[in-house]
C-alpha cells in the first residue's frame, strides 16, 4: 500500500477547470497539507489526477475547505475519458478547519485516472489541500 497521488510517484494533474497561478492544482499532489489549489468562482469545478500506470485503489481521502457536493469518477482508459461514477457525497461545512472525507472503495477498483468534481460549495470559492490515494500498481500480464 502506497500513496499513489504524488508528483514524486509520477502522478500528474491532467485537467483542471480553474486555477490561480499562485495556487496551482499540483499543490493537491505535492505531498503536504500546507499548500492548496483554489477554485476561482462558479461551480461545478473539477480536476483529474492521472497515474503512470493502472492502479488498484483501496481508499481515497480528500482534505478540502468549503466543498459541498463532491463526485469521484474513474477512468481505466489510457487517455482521461469514459469516466464512471464511483462515489457521490455531500460534505458538511466545518468552520475554521479542513474538511476530511474518506472513501472506502469496492474491492478491485482499478483506475488510470481519477476525476474529482465539486458540484457545489459552502462559499463562492473552495480549496483542496491534498488527495491521498492508497493502493498499488496493477501487475499486468503481457
Amino acid at each position: 500500500m502506497f500513496d499513489l497521488a504524488l508528483l514524486s510517484a509520477g502522478a500528474c494533474i491532467a485537467e483542471v477547470t480553474s486555477s490561480d497561478v499562485n495556487y496551482p492544482p499540483e499543490n493537491i499532489i505535492d505531498g503536504t497539507n500546507e499548500t492548496f489549489w483554489t477554485t476561482t468562482g462558479l461551480y461545478p469545478q473539477h480536476f483529474i489526477i492521472s497515474f503512470t500506470s493502472p492502479v488498484l485503489i483501496q481508499t481515497v481521502e480528500i482534505k478540502c475547505v468549503n466543498v459541498k457536493g463532491l463526485l469521484v469518477d474513474r477512468s481505466v482508459q489510457n487517455v482521461p475519458e469514459d469516466f464512471e461514477r464511483i462515489q457521490k457525497r455531500v460534505l458538511d461545512h466545518v468552520e475554521g478547519q479542513q474538511q476530511t472525507e474518506e472513501f472506502q472503495l469496492a474491492d478491485d477498483t482499478t483506475a488510470q485516472h481519477l476525476k474529482f468534481t465539486i458540484t457545489s460549495g459552502h462559499d463562492h470559492f473552495a480549496a483542496v489541500y491534498r488527495v491521498h490515494v492508497n493502493g498499488r500498481a496493477v501487475h499486468q500480464s503481457m
Binding site: S18, T38, G41, L42, G96, S120, H122, H124, A127
Partner: protein, 188 residues
Amino acid sequence: MPNNILRGACIVVGEPTSGKSAVTQVFHSDGSHFPKSYLMTVGVELCTKTVNVPETNDAVELFIYDSAGKELFYDHVQKHWDHPSMVMVVYDVTSETSFNSCAKWLERVRSHNHDVSIPGVLVANKIDLDQRRVISPKSGKEFAESNGLEYFECSAKEMQNVDQPFHYLAKQYYRLYQEKIEYFKSLA
C-alpha cells in the same frame, strides 16, 4: 492577458421596464448599443464580459444573468440562479412601484445563497428623465445603505455611469476572493 481570471454570476433583477436589459446591453457593448425599442425579456438572457481589476494583473469574468421582471416568468427565471455571486437591483426613478419592489427582488436572489455574502448594488436608472423623477437620490441611498448595497445612478439611454456598478461588483467579488485565500492559508 490577465494572470488570473475569477468567474462570477451577476444576477440582474428588478421590476419590468426598469431598464435591466438596457443597462446590461449598454455595458456589454461598451456603450455602442442601446436598445431603442422595448423588447420584454422572457426568461433569462446570459452574456459575459471580462473586467480588469484595477492595480492588479487579475480580471473578473462576469456572467451576467439579465432576468425577466415579469412575475409570470419567475419560476423559470429563478432556476438559473444556482450560485449567485453578485446581485444588481435596478429600478426606474420615475416609478414608485419599481422602487418599492427592490426589497422583494433582493430577498429573492439572496435566498438562493443564504450562507454566503453576496456583493450587491442598487442602480437608479433613467436619471435622464429629470422632470418625471419621483424617487429622490436620498430615498435610493437610504434603501441601499440599510440593505447592504452600494448606490449608483445611471442613464442607460445617455450611456452615463453604466459601467461603474459592474466594476464595483467585480472589485468587491475580487476582494472576497482575497479574503478567502487568506482564510485558506490560515487553515494550512
